[in-house]
Amino acid sequence: MSFLTGENMTGGYGTADILHACTIKVELGEIVVIVGPNGAGKSTAMKALFGMLNLREGLVTLGGKDITRLSPQARVREGMGFVPQSQNIFTSMSVYENLEMGAYLRNDDISETIEQVFTLFPILREKARQSAGELSGGQRQQVAVARALMMQPRVLMLDEPTAGVSPIVMGELFDRILEIRDNGIAVLMVEQNAAQALTIADRGYVLVTGENRFTDTGEALLADPEVRRSFLGG
């Protein structure tokens, strides 16, 4: 059993199911990427793992513990960090306050974690007193990831972290995500930029209409002619 496991997940927002017996597993110290065409249920699968969706069937476990019925807030306490795709920072608050809000549930000293986050994202140290809403798109994404890291999660889930940023910024962001993985955190990402994301992925899931289609290492998926043709644009 992997560290974070979503087994046989079936469910959706309303009456119609979006996920059909979908299974996603992530180990500590590994980057897993979910790719697939539009409407494949990539983000939905991630939200299901985070408890933002009622599952009709299936089981979600974290470190061997059944968390299927826990609320998202309770999962944050259990060590899951989530970075939503949009509106993922407090725009009217300073960068430093965003980090403080990330650690809102902690009662211990957070200065060490802030230091670690600033080491990971040096630009945030410079902009600490600035309002987060004034930052560029790439910097905002760094704030969003840093905010989620403030709870010292074991699992970090990123919903399209590179949506709307330039290729250079995307590369930098991926480098930071590799560093986060090397610290022993399990990273799960949903990515629109599938080809680039798979190059840094240890494993990848290709979802189609809410079902697992292909599961393999990032390299193998990139090399698979069928995956390339169908989902990576040649």
Binding site: Q73, V76, R77, Q87, I89, S92, E97, M101, Y104
Partner: protein
């Protein structure tokens, strides 16, 4: 030279001092409205009547204290009754929230439902107030009336015009400064204050960060009710208490909050003063002022009053409409939805 000074003194006495006082009262009221909007996301139409309710409690307690011979000369007795008024306003707000608004919060009702609900709450509170103390004017200010009178000022300076400073005016401005500083310190520095700002900024992300919505809502009501009680009492001390006046204060208060950018505390304060000074400067008769500045032959025959004081609410209304047309987010770019 003295003519120029007389003109300045005249304007200070009839525009600057009343404008500052009225602006402080509006700012305190608008802060409460903006805070509720930021956290509960609806325009609270019951705020004016909440002010009236709290002031009514203060008046009743003032009468009780007066009959017991309790007082804090030269300050008005209402000041020692104010904490009870604040407490009553908080209890009423929390009670309404529990009985009415919480139901819609759980149903995740759209904000128009809240607005209509708050109008209902407004009528109920309005009824309670009129039933208890009656619809008439009540004066409850006691203690010293003036810090210095116009005559004191004239004798001290030798000018033709004087500046009078009422105790209630000084009290209003000093209290407003103190309350605003305390509120901003709370919002900027305290853990709960930051949680409130975060919740107002991005509700989903705040929930994800572990902010408890019920706790944030609780503090929003406590603060808004306290501000309403303070604003209402200061307004009543400065002018007089009449339930209908408090109801109609809703318009300039809403105009202040929207002009400043609703959901933005600093905007509420700036908006309050802009609305107050607009009202005062537009309804002031400039005849005497111009007489000091212009040559005798140019002396105006009319009052040089742009708008009669009877129509002072038209000023707020016009500003409100213009802001909504031209810049609906307000000066400080508050929320629009």
């Amino acid at each position: 030279m003295t003519e120029f000074l007389d003109a300045v003194v005249l304007l200070t006495n009839f525009v600057l001092v009343p404008g500052l006082t009225y602006g402080s009262q509006l700012a305190l009221g608008a802060l409460g409205v903006t805070l509720i909007y930021g956290i509960l996301r609806f325009a609270n139409f019951a705020h004016g009547d909440l002010m009236a309710f709290a002031t009514m409690v203060v008046i009743l307690m003032t009468w009780l204290f007066q009959s017991m011979g309790l007082g804090i000369e030269p300050l008005p007795t209402a000041l020692i009754a104010l904490p009870i008024g604040i407490l009553a306003a908080i209890l009423l707000s929390l009670g309404t929230d529990r009985a009415v608004y919480r139901f819609y919060r759980r149903k995740k009702a759209p904000s128009v439902i809240y607005i209509l609900t708050s109008i209902g709450v407004m009528f109920v509170i309005n009824g309670i107030v009129r039933f208890t103390i009656g619809p008439d004017d009540q004066h409850f200010s006691d203690g010293a009336r003036f810090i210095f009178t116009a005559r004191d000022f004239k004798e001290a300076t030798g000018l033709h015009e004087g500046i009078a400073l009422k105790l209630s005016q000084l009290l209003t401005v000093v209290t407003a400064i103190f309350v605003v500083l305390a509120l901003f310190r709370f919002l900027q520095k305290s853990r709960t204050g930051k949680a409130m700002r975060a919740y107002s900024d991005n509700e989903d992300l705040a929930l994800l960060s572990g902010v408890s919505p019920e706790r944030v809502v609780f503090f929003a009501w406590v603060i808004a009710a306290s501000l309403a009680a303070i604003a209402g009492t200061l307004y009543g001390l400065d002018k007089s208490f009449k339930p209908f006046t408090y109801f109609s204060l809703l318009l300039p208060i809403f105009a202040s909050a929207i002009l400043g950018g609703i959901g933005h505390p600093m905007g509420a304060i700036v908006g309050g003063f802009i609305i107050a000074f607009s009202e005062v400067t537009i309804t002031y008769a400039y005849k005497k002022f111009l007489r000091y500045l212009l040559p005798e032959s140019w002396e105006p025959e009319s009052l040089v009053q742009l708008l009669s004081t009877d129509y002072k609410f038209a000023v707020s209304f016009v500003i409100l409409v213009v802001v909504l047309l031209v810049r609906p987010t307000g000066i400080f770019r508050g929320r629009t939805t």
